[in-house]
Point group: C2
């Protein structure tokens, strides 16, 4: 009688087919339109309305993967993907993640898989060294690191810990009674607004500090706002500085902001979600000057460090504050190792209880590439982006909006906003490349981010030619008929 | 010159080795001690202190996986794992997850991979049908489902949406100013306490309602507490009912609680994290009687539905309330499909922005097993647990603490708490089985949860004999010397 399971021998067979399917996918990824071209609802229309009563074959599933799912994929792993911030992956990461799925451990506490906790701790200590981060972020010092799902969650986690510290650990118990106020710049990621809402602080108690001409927070305005708020009876408690904003990769002055935070007794959280990976290279570390003043710091190996989503690194300077904030101990989780305090129980370092063994993919990536290999790719991406910026600069129809500090280039066609949007959509519709836009000073600005694992200079060069050609075509179309 | 990447052909080779490694692991999983026997710090001690400058071979990584990591694994996928709530996986799920890692898409909004959004929507609609859940939980009605990481996050998400609704959508803007009060039972999962803390409501505004002799919430006490709170000027706004508590699988009376919530204008969240999977079988659906009164409902395919962690299903009756609560729209995420409102952008359904393509593994599981195969395994687990309960009942040294409603058996040796803890640790130290404990009415109670994918009756039978034998050995040891 069947037990319905896939047997280990069938798993070997089907698993190897899927490994080949993935390798084939990467070998042919450039033939797919980068931005999916399907209409809303078309994928759903191709899927059965009713769930299957009886099991189906793996062949039928693989077939549907090709026929139904692939057309609805926007190819984040295409070397012609330059949109948003990237979410790059690599073969070593995919295999590390496969081991994690296979082992299927749930590392909520040390005892539920000591290796999951201890490998994570060591990987995050390694990264402190690899990026020359402050010693206090290490587990061997007062702080430590934990893997979160996203930088949004890390921001929320930091905000809650800061809220607790500022209220002398009263807010968890009594709710938010104080007139707490938090500070970001006008360019800070939207997740901070979401976090102050979730945390019960309220978006009207979030101050958006104006930025300079490079879109970096003006520290003197931060300081003035804090004073005004204190005079109005508010309790300033939290500041988020960004190393590489999402819109334009702007670099907030971490040291100056950090010094204000020290004086004003505010928690400093640093969000380096994408640009953080650049800290692998000594020549880019000036961008984190002052980070020793931070209470918490986050960056995403799942953006630019070849580690597939999700993998967000979150470091704190003082783990006791974090654990005090998030610790809960029901009887059914009590165990000897936890009670001695000898071990980390990571469920006390974040919002969720359950957790996947995510450090495996990080371990595979770091060991496969070595620090040297990771540096090589980061440098290459930055170099390609700098070259692209030069090409833009030398085209009379386009302008470079900012000198790119790293690998994100903000540029625009010199005509109006509408033209830039049409230009972008026309490139998208070609299927050959995908980049996105933002607004800076009310101008539509195109963003090209060079960070996909397999992007080489020729991909960017072809994309640039496509942009130029598409702009030319659009201009020709726009020409009044009398001139034609 | 090297580009440091693993080539597609090397990926095929190493990937197939890892597929075989996983198959080997499952074929030999019973030879490992279920609960890892390592000492705190021993895994770290075996890992290099410094990160590698140069890349290392896959062979060395696989070797370390065997030598360093495996001894530190608590084997959640062992058929002798009966601890906590399970986190079961299956081969089809592992392969669906592998495709997700390979595609590496980030489905934060519809446009960033329409298939990721639309497959997720369809899978969660399928599950409504498969479990005979209320029509309003479907995307084609007023509600809809979304995959979250854990039931903890779903509880927090529900609580925030409820907070917003109760404050007429003011709390996101102005913070928590009202005297909000939420209700759970003394047996509700600790994540609810964590959620009220995070949400700025405060644990002192969380009421723990007493339970009956089966550890289910007493609805009359809930109603009385709500009245008392109203009289004291509080605003009751949220109740969590549980289908299958973590301690003892107690079943709260959802209908009676739901009717109170309707009258009192409170949001009803139903947490069916583990037991929810039983709703696949018509004969267990009486346990969800009244669920049409719920505003939100969560259960975890990653617990008992053969889908590897993380995969938590979260349904709401009214998606507009949810989206209104969590929606944020920065310029760099604006796009045509979203602005027409024709599509779901799941980043507006939860805390995180980024999201993995998790519905693939659910699709693989449902299609491979079919409804029929899933029902077969759920029924088998329940039957084995019921048999185990009978064996306990017929052993004069042991007692069954509760008649198990499903697959979690609460039992104890008739001697004292200390003896039960020693008994449990002795079984753990044997490496042959792993179950955990809780406290009910101040008594240590042992919990045996039958839900691992490959658990068959003989695994539980052997474990029971081991427990009996171990208890006998301990009793013999304890006998005063004069009697020996």
């Amino acid at each position: 009688m069947t037990n319905y399971h896939l047997s280990p021998s069938r798993f070997r067979e089907e698993g190897k087919k899927i490994i080949d399917w993935i390798a084939d996918y990467y070998e042919h990824i450039e033939k797919y339109p980068v931005l999916s071209q399907v209409e809303p609802g078309s994928i759903q229309a191709a899927l059965p309305i009713a769930p299957p009563q009886k099991g189906e074959s793996f062949d039928s599933m693989l077939n549907d993967l090709n026929e139904i799912i692939l057309p609805g994929i926007t190819h984040w792993q295409s070397p012609n993907f330059f949109a948003y911030f990237p979410s790059n992956a690599s073969f070593p990461s995919i295999l590390g993640d496969l081991v994690s799925s296979g082992l299927g451990v749930q590392g909520m506490i040390w005892a539920t898989s000591p290796a999951a906790t201890e490998l994570e701790t060591r990987m995050l200590d390694w990264l402190v060294e690899m990026m020359d981060m402050p010693e206090k972020f290490k587990s061997t010092s007062t702080g430590g690191g934990v893997i979160q799902d996203t930088a949004s969650t890390s921001a929320l986690t930091a905000l809650i810990a800061a809220r607790e510290r500022a209220t002398k650990f009263e807010s968890n118990k009594s709710g938010v009674r104080q007139k707490l106020v938090a500070y970001i710049s006008t360019q800070t990621h939207s997740s901070l607004e979401k976090a102050v809402k979730i945390a019960g602080i309220g978006s009207e108690n979030l101050r958006l500090i104006e930025v300079d001409e490079l879109f970096a927070m003006k520290p003197e305005l931060l300081e003035r706002q804090i004073q005004m708020d204190r005079n109005d009876g508010f309790l300033p408690f939290f500041v988020c500085a960004t190393i590489g904003t999402t819109s334009s990769n702007a670099m907030d002055p971490v040291r100056e902001i950090g010094e204000i935070c020290r004086r004003e007794n505010c928690w400093l959280h640093v969000d380096a979600a994408m640009a953080g990976t650049a800290m692998l290279c000594p020549e880019f570390r000036y961008l984190k000057d002052g980070v020793e003043l931070a209470d918490s710091y986050t960056f995403n190996p799942h953006k630019w460090m070849f580690t597939n989503f999700d993998c967000d690194v979150f470091w704190v300077a003082n783990r006791k504050e974090l654990i005090h904030t998030f610790s809960i101990l029901p009887e059914y989780l009590r165990n000897k190792a936890s009670e001695t305090g000898e071990v980390f129980d990571y469920r006390d370092w974040h919002i969720q209880l359950g957790r996947r063994f995510r450090s495996l993919k990080l371990w595979f990536v770091i060991r496969h590439y070595g620090v040297e290999g990771l540096q090589f790719h980061v440098r290459k991406h930055v170099q390609i982006a700098q070259n692209f910026a030069q090409w833009v600069k030398h085209d009379a129809d386009f302008e470079l909006v900012l000198n790119p500090p790293l690998n994100l280039v903000c540029f625009r066609h010199k005509s109006n906003n509408d033209f830039n949007m049409r230009l972008m959509h026309a490139v998208h519709n070609s299927g050959k490349a995908f980049f996105t836009h933002t607004k800076l000073n009310n101008q539509v600005v195109l963003r090209l981010c060079v960070a996909q694992t397999h992007t080489e200079e020729d991909h960017v060069e072809k994309t640039w030619k496509l942009i130029q050609q598409t702009a030319q075509n659009l201009k020709n179309q726009d020409r009044p008929e009398k001139l034609s």
